[in-house]
Subunit: 348 residues, 2 copies
């Protein structure tokens, strides 16, 4: 399978995030990508660097003020006396106040949803490179579908993207890679489906397409009532306006294993089949694994293989886009199993 | 002058807050109240403990869900593996997501506006005691006005209150002491004015009364564009609905000294005179002092004396309610000067 990856991800190496009242080392480390790309190579997959991003690809999803914050914020932040090396917000607009400050601390609150998306000097470049991986993989699959070539590719994106809103970073994410790929695919296909199997609800992706009838968003994730992102991912979030019915959340009880997961996945697949998209984009996290350090869901490696098989059996041109999945001895193996299983099923 | 103070403030001793990307020791320490009460005693003022809070006084301002969070949250938080001693939020509802989780991390994001209002095991009791001080002082002034007795009192509240919304803590504040006093005073007076001279905009107080024509809110504060609370305190915030015109923000350039401050204060006084309130409540911070560790405005001690004189010259029954002002060698002196100057002017 074509694997698209950029070494530029290394420019983003977040130091820490605030969780349960303490600053902890960030779990979203460059080593994640190192392990994933090594596993892809061991699996015999071709790894290529992405081409340049198509003009306007990022801007089709993200606003100029937000992009300016990601690009220019670190220099403004560094000028604050005593500031830590990475931008981290400490106060946000809320349901009672919505002023629009131009100072960097206010911009941080405006453009960072939480304390798990610190912005450093290399974050913007790394995020652009990740978006380029997603765009490249999508272009390859679209071209393959047209020409009878490969109908699947994998974008090894880091940093991930699915928690990023149009104007806001969040949860290790800065640019929404899957949304950028979706907008590119929309140029040639009238209906796109996004399936998010990261253990966290893809709140950014949902937010970007919430009023859109042309992009179906389906997410399986740990029940957000006591899990990130907490304030989105509930089953009653079905879309708004013209987008009503094009958003399907399937929150799962913590501790859910393969059987219950696959049953919910079947409901997601049914929605996708019924939507009849021209392309399937998958927000592919491995953090629902029982071996992931998060450990909130309990999928096995054979469970991931079965997910891949059933996904391939949809018969859709498919772009796999890396989201979460954290350092464990199983991370690389999960990817190799997933890609191998998908390819084997597609070849049948 | 009657000074109302409770030793119960000690039960709240916040350890830290997140600012500029790092956890720093909280500036809102018990020693603040120790220095203030010592200065009040040295100034010859009578210091009394508050009576019990009138039934329903807190509930007239704050919702049951929020009060439950303050009271019961610390036990739920302590049950989280690896949680720090104090509740500190790391993800909040925002303009894109507004789900209502019941887990403690979600409740923290729902009920804490920022990282500067950690909730510990003693926070609720201390905040109730501070509210009782404000209520007691207000009752004394209301009674004094009726009976020809004292028409001013000072509530030495700690923790402070003016950043607390009806359903949300923020910026060292948990229960909005001045709002609680205002609602008590509303039982006998149809119009109440609140003047906030803390260096930070009183966003919580503004939020509580934003749609109310019966409570005038006037705030002088450092320009929030690059200063807490960042997202409120702008001059164009004039109230909403029936409350339009009953909210006056006077943001001041950073570095403002006595002359410009007193000129703006004159505009605030004009609004108060025109409103003709039955009672004046003052959110009294000393953090606009040039000697305050914050140092963003540059008021002198004679400047504070002049503020007190002009405030007394309004001739209104007045309750002074302590808000901010942080540890410096000048903190106690500023209070003594303020109370002395007010009393001297009122006696004329």
């Amino acid at each position: 399978m074509l694997v698209v990856h950029s070494e530029a991800h290394r420019r983003h190496a977040p130091r820490q995030f605030l969780v349960r009242g303490a600053l902890q080392p960030s779990a979203e480390q460059p080593e994640r990508a190192d392990r994933l790309v090594a596993a892809a190579r061991r699996g015999g997959h071709e790894v290529v660097a992405p081409g340049a991003l198509p003009a306007g690809a990022i801007e089709a999803v993200h606003g100029a003020a937000y992009l300016g914050f990601l690009r220019d914020g670190p220099a403004a932040w560094a000028a604050l006396p005593g500031a830590a090396p990475e931008i981290m917000p400490n106060v946000h607009p809320n349901r009672h106040m919505a002023g629009r400050p131009t100072g960097i601390v206010g911009l941080a609150g405006q453009h960072q949803a939480d304390t798990a998306c610190p912005v450093g000097a290399g974050t913007y470049d790394a995020a652009c490179a990740a978006a380029a991986c997603a765009a490249h993989a999508a272009a390859a699959v679209l071209e393959g579908s047209r020409s009878g070539g490969a109908r699947v590719a994998y974008a090894l994106c880091r940093p991930p993207g699915h928690h990023a809103y149009a104007d806001m970073a969040g949860g290790f994410c800065y640019l929404n890679n899957v949304a950028i790929a979706a907008e590119l695919a929309r140029k040639t296909h009238s209906r796109i489906a996004i399936l998010d199997i990261d253990v966290h609800h893809g709140n950014g992706t949902q937010g970007i397409f919430y009023d859109r009838p042309d992009v179906l968003f389906v997410s399986l994730h740990a029940d957000p009532n006591s899990y990130y992102p907490f304030f989105a991912g509930y089953a009653d979030e079905r879309g708004t306006g013209a987008g009503i019915g094009a958003n399907l959340n399937l929150p799962l009880p913590h501790g859910t294993g393969d059987d219950v997961y696959l049953e919910a996945l079947g409901r997601g697949f049914a929605a996708i089949r019924s939507f009849a998209p021209g392309l399937l984009l998958v927000s592919l996290g491995f953090d629902a694994s029982a071996h992931d350090p998060l450990g909130v869901l309990k999928l096995t490696e054979p469970g991931f293989a079965e997910i891949a098989r059933r996904m391939a059996a949809l018969g859709l041109p498919t772009v796999l886009i890396q989201e979460g999945g954290y350092l464990s001895d199983h991370l690389g193996g999960l990817l190799a199993t997933f890609l191998g299983s998908f390819e084997a099923a597609q070849a049948k």
